[in-house]
Each structure stands twice: as structure tokens, then as C-alpha cells.
Symmetry: C2
């Protein structure tokens, strides 16, 4: 979707300086989130598959090299040096769907300095967005674990890739599917769709619109009933269902997109049930987020599925994560950034998770990768020498991992409103190293 | 960047129903924003160039058609009918850079129903995001009209296209440029870059890092001075400047990325000025938005430029607009959606802007396109019969339009915090039409 020039200019100016100085030793960079947003007790790692694709395909095309030459910003010998550049390094990362917390590296790059630096912008761009959305979408899954949740948000997602990747990330988090057709084609995600108000309006007559639609979608007709008057439309659906039954067509469901969704659902359910249409489902949409879904579920609104759009696809309450990609080691020597409010834990690190006897996670330990400490290591080898170790892990496996990890979370962390702390202990080895580096500078 | 399947499934199911019913009369759809976010007194239209490119290139590839056939969701004769589909309709729109308000159509599509319906999702996806970002970025331009503003936000923009289009939209709104290289290549936007903390850290010695960088970027060195201690680093810059002066190299500036930016800038300015380095500029970055920029400008912090990232690229305080694409007329008959809280003004509309004797905008009138009313019409012909009327308007022209329109705004509307109302009057013809349609249903 984007080439190697989808990067910040400073990556290239730094590369030029490294080239001039012949600096290209082994660097270790780690990605992590400094602080969780207010309403996030945990995050869900996502986007690794796209990062692996990006790294595996990393190269400069001749058009890109020509443009760099013509820009007048770079020395010709430096641009020439980019011609053969590929990613030859190692990647260790938490598998997609892993639940993680602040300060924990979710991805570690070990590579020649220039390669590791060049890829910073796009790696963050991919990991940040999918993690942001998986971490938002999973909250709707917690709010309505038994409902059909569908991503409806392409139109207000931030551009094409956001539309596609939010479909992927929300499916990974437990959504049933998406309305975005291309996401279905590209990622194999189930796709869902009904009709728009314009369909009803173009017909003029609502009942005629319903009938035409049901006849062309005999196995999959979900009728949108709120264009004019929701309950009157429900009665039209009842009349139509009786008429179509003779033709062997069963309407699948109705969708309500405005007004008080809970009250309309109650009244529509009563109208449908009174006519014996108990199998006909009610699908709700319109400005939904996890809080509204939780309220509707708590009020026992008879809603079978939710279309969740804008607020999920933009993570509207927290539209970004405070993530970073930081140099932790160069040529075997640990490094530490000490900028005010942005200091990092130095060295090549690993996260170890501990569980109690029932399988619940109890705490994580942030240690050095070489430490001998107990617990399950969360970062696993992904690339070695630029090559993927395993066949691409399936999206389905990541989705299953989320399901499993949610079940192993301490109960308090699943609350949508109540903040709950999970212990992430920083190992003495990491603290000692930080103190030693501070003393050196 | 994305094909015709970047659309919602319901567009295709509706198209199939229209195909089965042989419905394909002329439809008129309009895009508008229902309600402005709390801290927006006006919006800036953007994204039209991408919409025109999309419409001009609209077609189904054989791979896309094959996928639709294999999906089992569509009738073969319907999929066949898509093979020759292109966009043959008309587009009228506000030129990019036009300032607009709630309920005002910014784009009107007049086309055969199926074409006009199919393009809904992607048109909104493009117009929504660029308008969102131009309307956010322009606030930083209002806060610091004399400073160098640079888009720094690729890494936390929502995917690749958001990175590229936010660079474009913020430049349109008045930013000087972007750090995103590909946006420079694709849109001809000036690009800016300095160095990352990792550059300093990889060297170990900060002064050596500065010197190496300045020697490889002799005309363009901006040194990042907050990795360890900002003021100590400023003294190192002073020493280096004296040393490099002998080699004919002048350091261009310094960047501060953490801590109290205003206080650090004061202290660094004093250090530089005391050494006679008055031409060396100070650039600030780190969690900036228009409010923080306004505070820094108000406090007379000696900052020459700002790198503004995440909060601009995600429009963090208001990450979406309540926009819609609604059928207003079909086969010559006006249409109105009446869903609760989402009712629309019916008919094919135009927006007329009025100005006072000094050239300041005073009010807009939302009228029917055929009304004879005074004022300057804001929607202008863009496509006729699927063909662009003019050569693609330059991004530079849109940027100039923003500048001009800002100057013509009533003063109160330029405030970042104080809400100010601008009068948008709904013409009697529109109200009468709405009442007539309501009576009919």
C-alpha cells in the first residue's frame, strides 16, 4: 500500500550521516507504549503481520531513487548505497492478539543501524494503528460477548488503509466481521451488509422497497426500518413476511439506525413476536461504542447484533497511543534516552508473564533478554536474517489468542469504566543498568 | 491506493437489487456535516482532488469481478453488469480550501442511481478525513501565523493513507510542509527533517553526534538537543558553531522535544544569543496542538517553528465529523430522510455566501439550486458526464484560498476556544419543500 518513502525525512538524513561516518553496527530498537489511555486497562497487540510484509518487501525502486537524487537533498553516493538495501535483521515480537501493558516492548528489531532506523516510521504507523483499534474493539466484545458485532466504520475511518486495517484489527479482537468488502477479499474476514436509507427513499414506497430487496436477497435480507417511522415499518415487515412465506422467502432481520435503540428494539420485538416472527433478528447501529452497547445489553434490549463504526474505527475516546520506537543497544552497549518525561528502560529486554494455579495472569516482569527469570516469555522470534521463521501466522490464530487471553485476565481488568492496575515489575537487572548508564553520561 | 471494492457491502447488495428491478434513474446525493465539533467554529473543505481521481478511475478489474462471483453473494448477471461500469455523472462541489458550516452541502453527485450509490463509502472516506484534518490544522495556523509549522505525525496517523493525506490537508490549511517524504514526492509538498534521539544515542557522545551531523548536512543541520540535558547541549552547540565556522559551516537550528518547551526555549535562546548565534533558529515539538502553540506564542517563547504531529493528524480532540451522503432527489423528485435526529433538508441545493462592504462574510443561505437568490454560489461544476471540467486545480490554489477565506471570516470565528455562531439561513423554498414531503409520506 505504500513504499519505502513512506517515512520521515529525518530517517533518511540520519542514514546519510551514518553512511558518511561508515556507522552501521548492530542496533536494537524496541517498540512500546509509555502510558495507557484513561479507559484502557490493557492493550491488544496487533499489526505484526503487516510489519513482517513491510520488512520482507523493503527496497527502493528506481523511481524512488531517482526522486531522491533529483530532490537535491542527498549525496549521490549515499543514494546509490540505498539501491541494494533490504531488511536483513532479526525481529522478536509478541504474537498478534497478546494482551500487554505500559512499558512492555511488543516488538524488538535487531539489525544493522541503517536498516533498523529507516523502518521506524512505518513500523510505528502500522503497529500503532492496529493495536489502537484492537484495544478499542475488544471493549465492545467484552460489553456484548454473545452479540454479532460488525465493523461499520469505513466511511469515517482515516483513509483507505485505516478502513482496511480497522476491519482486520476489530475482527482480530473478536468482531464477527466487517462491512468493508475489500477487507473481506484481502484478509478473508466475513462481510456483512444490509441497505441504506437511500434505498428506501429511491423507491418512495417503503413496503415496495422492502419487498424488492427481499426478492433479490432471498437468503440474506436485513431490512432497514427507521427511514420514516420505525414501528410502522415493523408492521410492514410483518405483512411482507406473510406474503413472502408463500414464495418460500424468509426475511432474515431488521436494522434500526436512529432514535432510542433500546426502546425501538423492545417495541419492534413485540410486533414481530406477536406475528410469530421470533426468528427474525434485530440489528442496531448508529453512534455506538462499547459504553452504549453495554447499556443496551444491561437493559436487556432485544438486540441480536450491533454495527459499530466511527467510534471504534477512530478509537474516538483515545485516538492515539503514546507509543515509541527507541534505541536500546548499539554495538553491544546498552543505551538510554533521558529526556524529561520520556526516559526509557535501557537494554535488550523481554517480558515474562506469571500465572496462578487457575491459569490467571498475575503479573509481568520486564527483564533483560539474557536474564534467567521465571515466567512465560512473551516476545518470540519472528524474523531471522530478514527471513520469516514460520509461515505467516493466521489471523484466525490471533483472534483465538485474544479469546484465550481475555479468559486468563484478572477480572477487574475487564471492566470498561473502573481503572484496574496490573503489576508490571521492572527486574533489578534493568534498574541497575539504567542507574549505571545515568552515572556514565 | 484502493480499488472499487473499498466500499461497504450494502452498496453492492443495493446495486444488485437496483439491477434486478432495472432501477437506474438519475439520483442526486449531497455530502454535508450535520453538526460541528465543540471546538470548531468553521470547517475547511478538502479532499476533492482525491475524490475526482477516484471517480475518474472507477472500474472493476477482472480480479475484483472474479472475487465477487466466487463469493457466492451475487447473481452472475449482476456481476457481469459491473464489468463496464464507470462514473458518468456530474459533480458540483466547493473548491478545496472553502470554509463551510453545518448542513451545507460541500459536494453534490448527479448520476445514474447505481453509480451514485456505489461511490458513497469511498467519497465519504476521502472527504471526511481531509476535511477533518484541514479543519484541525488551520487552528494551529491561526495560533501561530508567523511560525514555521511542520506536520510531524506520520507514525501515529491512522495508516499509510492517513499519513499522506494529513500531510496534504495540513499543507492546504497553511502548514509550511511535512516530514513525510512520500507526501513530498506525491503532492509536491516541502519536506522537513532533523534527527532522532537514536542518532545521539548511537554515537554515545552528544557533541560528536552534532559535529558529524552538521558535516554531512552542512546547509541544513538542525540539532536535537534534549536527549540528556537541553541547556548543556546548547552550550555544546555554541562550541561546535565556533569550530565549524572555520570550515564555512553554519548550523541552522536546534530542536527541543521535551520538558517545558517555553522555558527551555528562553534559556537556549539566551545561551545562543550570548554567543552571537542570533540567526540560529529554535524549533519545538512534542505533544503539541493548537492550544499549546497558542500558549507558547502568547508567552513570547522564542520559538521559530513547531513540529505538530499526533494531535493534528488524528484530530485528537474531535477525531471524526458527523458527515453524511444523502439522497436528495431521485428521477426529478425531491427526497427526505426523516429518521429521528437525522432528518435532512431535501432537494438539489446550493449555498450562497453574503459579504459586507469590507469583504467580510456575513451569512450563508442554504437554497435550492434553481432558486434565484443573491449571494456568491459556493458549489461549482467539477465533473460533467464523468469528465473533469478543468485541469486538476493546484494544491497551491487551495492553500491560497484558505488564506484568503480566513481573512474574510468574521473575527469571532477565528477564536480557538470561544464558540461563535455564523448564520446559515435555510431559504423558504427549502423549508416549504421539506414540509410538503413530510405531508406526503
Amino acid at each position: 500500500m505504500a513504499g519505502v518513502l513512506l517515512t520521515d525525512l529525518y530517517e533518511l538524513t540520519m542514514l546519510q550521516a551514518y553512511f558518511a561516518q561508515r556507522m552501521n553496527g548492530t542496533a536494537v530498537f524496541e517498540c512500546f507504549v509509555r502510558k495507557l489511555p484513561r479507559e484502557r486497562n490493557f492493550l491488544v497487540a496487533a499489526g505484526l503481520e503487516q510489519v513482517v510484509e513491510y520488512l520482507a518487501g523493503l527496497s527502493f525502486s528506481s523511481e524512488e531513487l531517482d526522486w531522491l537524487r533529483q530532490s537535491g537533498r542527498f549525496r549521490p553516493d549515499f543514494v546509490d548505497s540505498l539501491a541494494g538495501l533490504t531488511f536483513t535483521g532479526d525481529v522478536d515480537a509478541m504474537p498478534e492478539g497478546t494482551i500487554f501493558f505500559a512499558d512492555e516492548p511488543i516488538l524488538r528489531i535487531t539489525a544493522p543501524l541503517r536498516e533498523a532506523q529507516l523502518v521506524e516510521s512505518r513500523i510505528l504507523n502500522l503497529l500503532h494503528y492496529e493495536t489502537l483499534i484492537a484495544s478499542k474493539a475488544v471493549r465492545s466484545v467484552l460489553a456484548a460477548p454473545d452479540a454479532l458485532l460488525v465493523d461499520f466504520g469505513l466511511r469515517r475511518a482515516h483513509g483507505a488503509e485505516a478502513g482496511l486495517l480497522s476491519a482486520r484489527a476489530s475482527y482480530l479482537a473478536g468482531f464477527a466481521g466487517t462491512a468493508t468488502v475489500e477487507a473481506g477479499r484481502r484478509f478473508g474476514i466475513p462481510i456483512y451488509g444490509t441497505m441504506a436509507h437511500s434505498y428506501i427513499q429511491a423507491h418512495g414506497d417503503e413496503a415496495a422497497a422492502f419487498e424488492h430487496f427481499a426478492q433479490t436477497q432471498p437468503e440474506n435480507a436485513v431490512l432497514l426500518i427507521d427511514t420514516y417511522d420505525t414501528e410502522r415499518a415493523a408492521h410492514k415487515v410483518v405483512a411482507l413476511a406473510a406474503k413472502l412465506a408463500g414464495q418460500g422467502i424468509a426475511i432474515k432481520g431488521v436494522r434500526i439506525d436512529s432514535g432510542d435503540l433500546g426502546e425501538h428494539a423492545q417495541r419492534v420485538r413485540a410486533i414481530l413476536d406477536a406475528a410469530g416472527l421470533t426468528a427474525l433478528t434485530i440489528f442496531a447501529s448508529g453512534n455506538l461504542d462499547e459504553h452504549r452497547v453495554e447499556e443496551l445489553v444491561a437493559s436487556r434490549a432485544p438486540i441480536d447484533g450491533f454495527g459499530i463504526g466511527t467510534r471504534m474505527n477512530t478509537s474516538a475516546d483515545a485516538p492515539f497511543l503514546d507509543c515509541a520506537y527507541k534505541l536500546e543497544e548499539y554495538e553491544g552497549r546498552p543505551r538510554r534516552k533521558r529526556s524529561e518525561g520520556k526516559a526509557t528502560w535501557p537494554g535488550r529486554k523481554q517480558v515474562y508473564r506469571h500465572y496462578d494455579g487457575t491459569g490467571r495472569a498475575t503479573r509481568d516482569v520486564l527483564a533483560l533478554a539474557d536474564d534467567l527469570v521465571p515466567g512465560t516469555p512473551l516476545l518470540r522470534p519472528v524474523l531471522r536474517g530478514g527471513r520469516p521463521l514460520d509461515p505467516r501466522p493466521a489471523l484466525a490464530a490471533a483472534r483465538e489468542r485474544v479469546r484465550t487471553e481475555l479468559a486468563r485476565l484478572p477480572d477487574g481488568l475487564r471492566s470498561l469504566r473502573e481503572p484496574a492496575e496490573y503489576a508490571v515489575d521492572v527486574a533489578p537487572s534493568v534498574r541497575t543498568l539504567a542507574a549505571r548508564l545515568d552515572a556514565q553520561q
